[in-house]
Symmetry: C2
Subunit: 259 residues, 2 copies
């Protein structure tokens, strides 16, 4: 028997933004290793009998090391369990999928990845903008403000006014990032929005400019996962998103009969 693990993108939070493939993987799971950013709504789809192992990394709290995660995944997979590694967003975009894949494949374990809706895309849809727009933005750059993801970034490549910049894990350092973007030539009055808890009941959006968003963020305590979008497309952001009509009055996905 081939030993396999499925790395599943949990999307931004709303269970109905999971893909069907993700829902099936979760419903078949016997062991789930889960990050702190995965929402309660998605967690509610995990079968009651499954073992849930919290391996979230959050801020400065103690967290499971990558070695522990890898060892745990390997052990359960080798014991024959159907193991799901559940991560917020899309595992291929700042989800460290490559590291876990490399560690597992070195142990002879196959890894399948189920892509997920990444938070910038969900934030755009919820707050009524497009990441690209003919005549306004012909490129989209996803970058991280998290230093662990790589050496200090130069921001020259984000100076192009026709590029929408999506910043992950950047709320903490946004003042420095905004200053670097402006120094690289991006207009200080470029529209910028910060969205926290996108597609969750507590979703909120702050609209400002590249020059002013950091102060707004500091004044208006944003808790939870934040994505920041910078670019002229953000000018159209509307803070009271319309709910798609087919889910009016309905917030949770009901598990029975889902598939």
């Amino acid at each position: 028997m081939t030993v396999r693990i499925t790395l599943v993108g949990a999307g931004p939070g709303a269970a109905d933004l999971l893909t069907l493939r993700a829902v099936r993987a979760i419903e078949a799971a016997e062991v789930v290793l889960i990050d702190a950013l995965v929402s309660d709504e998605v967690r509610s789809l995990i079968p009651p009998g499954a073992r849930i192992i919290e391996v979230g990394k959050r801020g400065h709290k103690p967290s499971a090391g990558q070695d522990f995660i890898n060892r745990t995944l390997v052990r359960y997979a080798q014991q024959g369990f159907n193991v799901v590694r559940l991560k917020g967003g899309d595992p291929s975009i700042f989800g460290r999928a490559a590291e876990e894949r490399a560690a597992l494949e070195a142990m002879g374990i196959e890894v399948a990845v189920v892509p997920g809706i990444t938070s910038a895309s969900a934030a755009a849809a919820q707050f009524r903008i497009s990441l690209t727009e003919r005549g306004t933005a012909r490129r989209v750059l996803f970058a991280t403000g998290h230093r662990a993801e790589g050496p200090e970034t130069d921001w020259e490549s984000a100076a192009d006014p026709a590029t929408t910049v999506c910043l992950y894990m950047a709320a903490h350092d946004f003042a420095a990032i905004a200053a670097a973007l402006i120094a690289a030539g991006r207009r200080a009055d470029t529209p910028a929005i910060a969205v926290c808890d996108v597609e969750r009941p507590a979703a909120r959006m702050l609209a400002a400019t590249l020059a002013t968003l950091a102060a707004r963020l500091a004044a208006d305590a944003f808790e939870g996962p934040v994505v920041i979008l910078v670019g002229d497309v953000c000018r159209r952001a509307v803070s009271s998103p319309c709910a798609p009509h087919f889910r009016e009055g309905e917030r949770r996905v009901s598990l029975p009969g889902l598939l």
Copy 2:
């Protein structure tokens, strides 16, 4: 009654990569305006009684103009039909969502957007790479090779070796784009892959380098939608993707009891 239209991201092609929200919107549709890139598998979820209007733009064939699309959407919405505008991938990324939204909102019609899995993300998962990778790629740039999306692009911003570049609609002009990337400083031997029909039964991947991929593409006729990924992360691409174990032997989503 508020008149609404739902713009739904159909993802790359496999029906089980639709989000639950997208499936619900499609199943509730009475009128569907649909692009040529939407797969047969996704089309099969449209209710038998729904009116399907093909508005695909493909290559040099005659196609529906944006004005016709907007007028048709408005007419059916005003007649009280549940109207779905179905687009491949994610409507917010090179999906022209903003244009249709602006035209419809000008007519007093609300537009809800359901995000979709974009093809670069699906291609990465299927061919076993990550778009970001600690120490290798700390940024992801989505760009188009399609001139209608904007003026000629300068490629300086894609020269950073730690940026994975995802090119949409770029197969036709890839020789010129690759030359521009190399002129901007990107290494000629940077790994590059082209994926056509990602997550469809005919999915294929060509692996080469930035310097050689255009010739490979020309020699090996790629039909259908193509996404090109450029960056060191592509070095790990594996051409025989492993199917997630929970859908072995199963290619189609069965409609009855889906939700």
